[in-house]
Symmetry: C2
């Protein structure tokens, strides 16, 4: 997706070989027109696949997920993050370890918004080692729903998230695939 | 805004005289088409007022804010919530006390995304006692930006947020004004 790659080249900040900061248009400040294009790109890839719901995780996944949901005509659910979860009724929960933050967090979805009839598109801003995606897939599985695939805005292709997910049979559609962040430069795979 | 009020009547859950749960379409599951209508309603109210940025707070404010930003053609910034903030460079911070959760939290915005040239529309999902709105206004003031007004999805008009904000000269546009949640019923002001 060229306009996304251009935006990353112009406004992304390479903090290290591992970390790309896109606070200017995705993770803190949001470019709504770009989000619409991203939503359209996800919708194009999954149109006709029987998606009934989109599941994402707060907060940066929400904007691209809602734009995709608007075009596919389906609701969006955002999983909540809890540092420490107070037990509540009807919550499906899963754990995610963040390498960036070196913390484990719990994510949760209310059981009543997903059922065995749902076929779910998982949307997230980044795919790195796949831990957040796996936790979302775990929640969706607990609800008995099936997975249409994943829609990722930016994939760090030098980490093993895609290999892990594809190895378990999941379809992964990433709009920008970053091959390397070496020497302060963003290089894309294709 | 009739479609919003209908949605609240049909899918809102009155948990107490003070608490309205709208997890079915705004706070956990999101209805993208309704968000587009909400964004349009905010854009209609503030079009021509010179808005250059929208500021909201994660996570539930993001979807309506992005839809408004798309129509007004301006970027959206979402303030981050921190339970305990590690000091970072260039962050503007403010404190919010939540009566619902009985906790104080810190919210933050990166200073580099707002300047004295910005004229800001503040968007949030709920207005109750106005504490979250006041914290956002405080952050925006720290950046030297001016405030065009507030766009609120659901106002609890039986709490004093609007009075507080209007008393300080801010324009408040709420799409649904809830007069009462007594007896498990939602009653609107107009």
């Amino acid at each position: 997706m060229d306009i996304l790659k251009d935006k990353i080249r112009k406004e992304g900040i390479v903090l290290s070989d591992q970390v790309l900061k896109v606070d200017a248009f995705l993770n803190h400040q949001i470019d709504p027109r770009l989000m619409k294009e991203i939503g359209h790109a996800f919708a194009e890839r999954y149109r006709g696949d029987g998606v009934t719901k989109i599941v994402t995780i707060e907060a940066s996944g929400i904007a691209p997920a809602v734009m995709a949901g608007l075009e596919l005509g389906v609701p969006v659910i955002f999983a909540r993050k809890f540092q420490s979860l107070t037990l509540k009724n009807d919550l499906l929960i899963s754990k995610v370890f963040s390498f960036t933050k070196q913390t484990e967090s719990t994510i949760a979805i209310s059981a009543k918004h997903l059922s065995a009839d749902d076929h779910v598109l998982v949307v997230d801003d980044f795919l790195a080692n796949g831990h957040a995606a796996k936790a979302l897939i775990d929640l969706i599985g607990q609800a008995g729903s099936s997975i249409a695939g994943l829609g990722i805005v930016i994939e760090k292709s030098f980490q093993d998230g895609r290999t892990l997910l594809e190895g378990e049979g999941y379809r992964v559609e990433s709009l920008a695939r970053v091959k390397s962040l070496a020497d302060g430069q963003v290089t894309f795979l294709d």
